[in-house]
């Protein structure tokens, strides 16, 4: 018996065929991702079963780099909006919000349905509710910590980032406070950055210690006003601490100051060694599963805690706080992945009306462990959906400039009045400002010079018309068409039919494509008879939410701790 015979019996022949033909993308190869790949393959949607029997890391890397380089910083060559991929459905099995946002935007841009998922301990759901990351005032982190988390954020987002990272990563801090104090803090950060040049020196750890636990604290103590109502910190004594009795702490109990110092010294040395082992300086990013990085952050955070009279924290707890760890168990992953695969069948079978948001809940006081609800209609105020998503191809990225693009978009793209942005337009790529009316240095630069290639996403916003809908352009691979700039995927996103009307019975996946020639550009209007986008962001998101750290986001690592290690 062939697999399809059996599946045809249970699913019905038509559905089984659609499943077999479906091109699905699973993003993320952690607990849910591996479980999901298995379920999908065993449901007949992937003919090469051997893929999943290979070692997990290999499969995961392959799956991610072959399918969605957008998640992997190394292989970032294209994004899923590129028609070469042509996925019918994307399934998210991610563990962080930024990557989820990124895939969401990519799916909206590519007009591909997305199934979202997440678990936390015994809880799970198949649509993610983004949780706001907690931020702290910068002065609390840098000058007046009062709880362990303040010390951990300081060690991770400030100290580690300045010494070993690429740039200051202070996303967890609000810049809100005394201007003079802020200026001082910036100077302090620059001094630390300079100190990171000493990374290869034998006494590097001592130098850093001396800077942050002696000099910086002395500076803080000199600001007497600050300590009128607070307990002042104490300057740490390197030799005094080093002379203490060294116990060998386990991860579960808080280290003594002496143990923290030893951990600080040894982890700093290992990190320095890694940073300098190649001729060019290797920049490191904090990763909770990177033992050296974790130990460094835990040690520095605890030394700071001792300096400020704050209770110390175990390495185990630091890991949870620094890594935003959410408990995960195989059983919940299995249930959620099972639900996702069921939903996936509904999507490829064009039965969007049978898709639901499902939740696994836990409460010991009542028996409702499971809930489902209908997908809500698109939110008309959603700032992520309320954009025009276009794919752009360039004939010659080395010659076409940003000014060429501006010239194309000022009067509106194609025939739609909605896509008129007006004279003053700003262009950003993630958080990088490429152009605005007061900053035109880049106008004459080519896309190549600006480092914009396949996978880059540009957001164009009108500066003088707040009502104009921003246009998000994702750059696909160059074309061989002789015109300079080609736009594809031209469609007004606001005119979505309600979900109930979504599934015409006989579609056969054919797309009606109309080609309209205008001037020297070709505008290809794809009118997909299937209404594909299923998942919309439910909440209003600020424009910042659209920033795109994820293309370079290395947090989604294929290697994860609770992965099915098959083969």
């Amino acid at each position: 018996m062939r697999r399809t015979d059996q599946l045809a019996q249970l699913y019905g022949e038509k559905t089984a065929e659609r499943i077999a033909k479906a091109r699905l993308l699973v993003v993320g190869a952690g607990g849910i991702g591996c479980e999901l790949l298995k379920n999908l393959c065993m449901s007949g949607s992937c003919s090469k079963r051997k893929h999943i029997k290979r070692p997990k890391a290999e499969v995961a890397v392959q799956a991610i780099s072959a399918f969605n380089p957008g998640i992997n910083a190394h292989a970032q060559q294209a994004n899923i909006t590129d028609p070469q991929f042509d996925f019918d459905l994307v399934l998210n099995a991610l563990d962080n919000l930024e990557a989820r946002r990124h895939v969401n935007i990519q799916c909206l841009a590519a007009k591909v349905p997305l199934i979202e998922s997440g678990t936390a301990g015994y809880l799970g759901h198949s649509t993610a509710k983004p949780v706001e990351q907690k931020t702290f005032p910068v002065c609390t982190i840098r000058s007046t910590p009062s709880s362990p988390i303040h010390c951990i954020v300081w060690a991770k987002s400030y100290l580690f980032a300045q010494l070993f990272g690429e740039q200051t990563d202070e996303i967890e801090m609000d810049e809100d406070g005394d201007m003079q104090e802020l200026a001082q803090l910036r100077e302090e950060a620059r001094a630390l950055k300079r100190l990171s040049e000493a990374v290869g020196c034998p006494d590097f750890a001592w130098q850093v210690f001396n800077k942050v636990f002696v000099q910086d604290i002395e500076r803080l103590l000199s600001m007497e006003d600050m300590w009128k109502n607070r307990r002042p910190p104490t300057v740490l004594n390197y030799n005094g601490l080093a002379a203490g009795a060294l116990d060998s702490p386990d991860d579960q109990s808080p280290p003594s100051a002496t143990a923290a110092l030893e951990m600080f010294r040894s982890s700093a040395e290992r990190l320095a060694c890694r940073a300098t082992q190649r001729s060019e300086r290797t920049l490191l990013m904090f990763d909770k599963d990177d033992r050296d990085a974790l130990e460094f952050v835990a040690a520095a955070a605890n030394l700071r805690a001792y300096a400020f009279g704050i209770p110390p924290t175990s390495v185990f707890a630091v890991k949870a706080m620094a890594g935003n760890i959410i408990p995960a168990i195989a059983t919940t992953n299995a249930i959620v992945a099972g639900m996702m695969a069921l939903q996936a069948v509904n999507v490829v079978d064009h039965r969007l009306q049978d898709c639901f948001t499902v939740y696994l809940t836990y409460s010991s006081s009542h028996d409702r462990y499971y809930m489902k609800e209908r997908l809500p209609p698109p939110n008309p105020r959603c700032s992520v959906c309320r954009r025009h998503y276009l794919t752009m191809r360039l004939a010659d990225p080395a010659r076409t400039t940003l000014a060429d693009l501006l010239a194309r978009v000022t009067d509106g793209i194609g025939t739609s009045q909605d896509m008129r942005l007006g004279e003053d337009v700003s262009i950003v790529e993630g958080s990088r400002i490429l152009y605005d009316p007061d900053f035109d240095d880049n106008a004459s630069k080519s896309f190549e010079e600006l480092g914009l290639g396949p996978g880059s996403m540009l957001t164009l916003t009108s500066e003088d018309d707040d009502d104009a809908i921003p246009v998000v352009i994702s750059i696909a691979r160059p074309t061989y068409i002789s015109c300079a700039i080609t736009f594809e995927g031209f469609e007004d996103f606001r005119g979505f039919p309600p979900l109930e009307q979504a599934a015409p019975e006989e579609s056969d996946d054919e797309e009606i494509v109309a080609v309209v020639e205008a001037d020297d550009d070709v505008v290809v209007i794809e009118e997909d008879v299937l209404t594909k986008p299923v998942k919309r962001k439910m909440e209003d998101e600020s424009p910042e939410a659209a920033k795109r750290p994820s293309l370079y986001d290395v947090r989604e690592q294929p290697a994860n701790s609770e992965i099915i290690d098959l083969d």
Partner: protein, 539 residues
């Protein structure tokens, strides 16, 4: 830029690293329970294999798979843990071989015997938990009786196409760490002496503006409550009911105390009055446990849970307790500076420690009365019992063998949960199998006509059986034919995805039972994959 992942992790942290994400859920104690557990699994289908996978990954101690089936073509298609090379081999051995590769810490073995013949041996002797997948009803009944007698947790499950059912049974299951979310036990309405003294020691009038903004809200509410009671000549005891209108007055009191409206701690105090100024109550679940005969009359054979419940009764009867359970001692985050927060925390901690010491004395007395050594119950167990005294849970299940004999104990629950049709269809299928020795919808030498005829004939027979069962159970309704037809159409064939989903739930419940943390579902579950429904229901 990306850091090259170099591994520097040592062997010591290796295990903690591997189990990191789950340890954060059930801690060292849960992991310990899991690693010392032994699971016996009857059946080696996809459902059995998927259930086991989710127990092996988190590191269950040992498992044994009991089945005499051999690997067929169907298995290669639905069961992820058999390979084409396994065709014709004993299926139990095939899945054990692949499953053990998932986790080197887990020991697994196969017993190539039918369930019935294995039950003639001492197969259940050392089992912590039994899982039975896809067995005929009479075998399930037999296993259920044996497990019930031995107080072994049992999870029974089977799937048919898009549908699956689950049933959990154990005479008694006690949970100390139920992780129930309760409001913090702050004792604001009737502060213990240490708390009252602490509150009195803070004189708001002498504090400057900055310090005033750092007084924890608990102290502010305590003061407001006291001044309201004094002004109105009220005596507030722990069981005094304070009306909503009165709470409004207390809130006004707080606003009067505030130097201005912007102070977050005063705002917090204002907002917490409704929830935190409440009469002290022992949760109904805990009252039931304390008045249970098992807590009143203990013997040397009593479970530790009951010996500790007995001690808790004695504690509660003592004047020391004043009708209140041992204090857990944890307080929530609140707006305060570190110093005043820690001072408050210390007050609660001291009382909790004193309660714990007093309770431990009663535990030792209970143990002594049974001639058991004082360390029979460890300090850690006493700590946990005190910390979670308000969250204690006791589950008593109904025996599955009785249900299979005479029908569901509470059929109305099935009706209101919308699970009756699925449930009765599965039960009718049990009867059908007992009669014909084949699953409905499966053609063999005894059936006539083509596959459609078999489905039609079997559907008709299943409908008749189902309706007869409903009459027996005194339910005035007829089974939905489409549900029965779907079951017959499936021929009890396994779909991998449904097996995986159901296996997720089987293992989820199994882990709750093994770790004695969180509260397992009592007692049934119907999965209807066609409409994405998972229905937990007490049968």
């Amino acid at each position: 830029m990306r850091a090259t992942p170099e591994s520097t992790s040592t062997a010591a942290t290796d295990k903690a690293q591997r189990y990191d994400r789950q340890l954060r859920l059930w801690q060292e104690t849960g992991q310990q329970a899991l690693e010392t557990a032994r699971v016996s699994v009857f059946g080696s289908s996809a459902l059995a294999a998927e259930s086991l996978k989710n127990l092996i990954l988190p590191g269950i101690g040992e498992f044994v798979v009991i089945d005499d089936a051999t690997v067929g073509e169907q298995d290669v298609l639905t069961n992820f843990f058999v390979a084409p090379a396994d065709l014709g081999k004993p299926r139990a051995e095939a899945i054990v071989e692949q499953l053990t590769e998932l986790n080197p810490d887990v020991r697994g073995s196969a017993v190539v015997k039918s369930a019935e013949s294995a039950l003639e041996t001492d197969i259940l002797e050392s089992a912590t938990l039994v899982i039975a997948c896809g067995l005929p009803a009479h075998t399930v009944q037999r296993i259920s009786r044996l497990c019930w007698e031995r107080n072994i947790a049992l999870v029974v499950a089977d799937t048919a196409g898009f549908a699956a059912r689950l049933r959990t049974a154990i005479p008694e299951h006690a949970v100390v760490e139920s992780h129930e979310e309760l409001a913090p036990d702050l004792r604001i309405q009737a502060p213990f002496p240490g708390l009252a003294e602490h509150s009195d020691s803070i004189d708001l009038d002498t504090l400057d503006h900055v310090d005033l903004a750092h007084v924890p809200y608990v102290v502010l509410v305590l003061k407001a409550l006291r001044s309201w009671a004094t002004a109105n000549g009220r005596e507030v005891r722990r069981d005094t009911a304070i009306t909503y209108a009165e709470k409004r007055k207390i809130k006004e009191e707080i606003l009067c105390m505030a130097p201005n409206m912007d102070e977050e701690n005063f705002r917090e105090a204002h907002d917490k009055v409704n929830g935190d100024v409440i009469p002290y109550q022992i949760p109904a679940e805990v009252r039931r446990i304390l008045s249970d005969p098992a807590a009143q009359n203990i013997t040397a054979k009593s479970e530790k849970f009951w010996i500790m419940a007995h001690a808790l009764r004695a504690y509660m009867a003592s004047p020391y307790a004043d009708g209140q359970l041992p204090l857990s001692g944890t307080i929530p985050d609140m707006k305060a500076d570190t110093k005043s927060y820690i001072a408050l925390q210390r007050v609660y901690k001291q009382k909790a420690d004193a309660d714990k010491a007093e309770y431990a004395r009663h535990v030792r007395e209970s143990l002594a009365s049974l001639d058991l050594p004082p360390d029979f119950i460890s300090q850690g167990e006493i700590d946990a019992y005190c910390k979670d005294a308000r969250r204690l849970r006791l589950l008593r299940f109904t025996p599955l063998h009785d249900e299979l004999e005479s029908g569901p104990k509470d059929a109305s629950a099935l009706v209101s949960a919308g699970a009756l049709d699925q449930y009765v269809a599965f039960r009718a299928s049990d009867v059908f199998f007992a009669k014909h020795k084949r699953h409905p919808g499966v053609a063999d030498s005894s059936t006539q006509g083509d596959g459609n005829d078999v489905v039609n004939n079997d559907t008709a027979e299943l409908v008749a059986i189902a309706n007869e069962l409903l009459v027996q159970w005194s339910i005035e309704s007829e089974v939905a034919e489409d549900v029965v037809r779907e079951l017959a159409r499936s021929g009890h064939a396994e779909l991998h995805n449904i097996a995986s989903l159901a296996g997720g739930i089987v293992s989820q419940e199994a882990i709750k039972l093994v770790t004695h943390q969180y509260v397992p579902a009592n007692n049934g579950c119907i999965i209807d994959g066609a409409s994405a429904r998972i229905i937990f229901v007490a049968v």
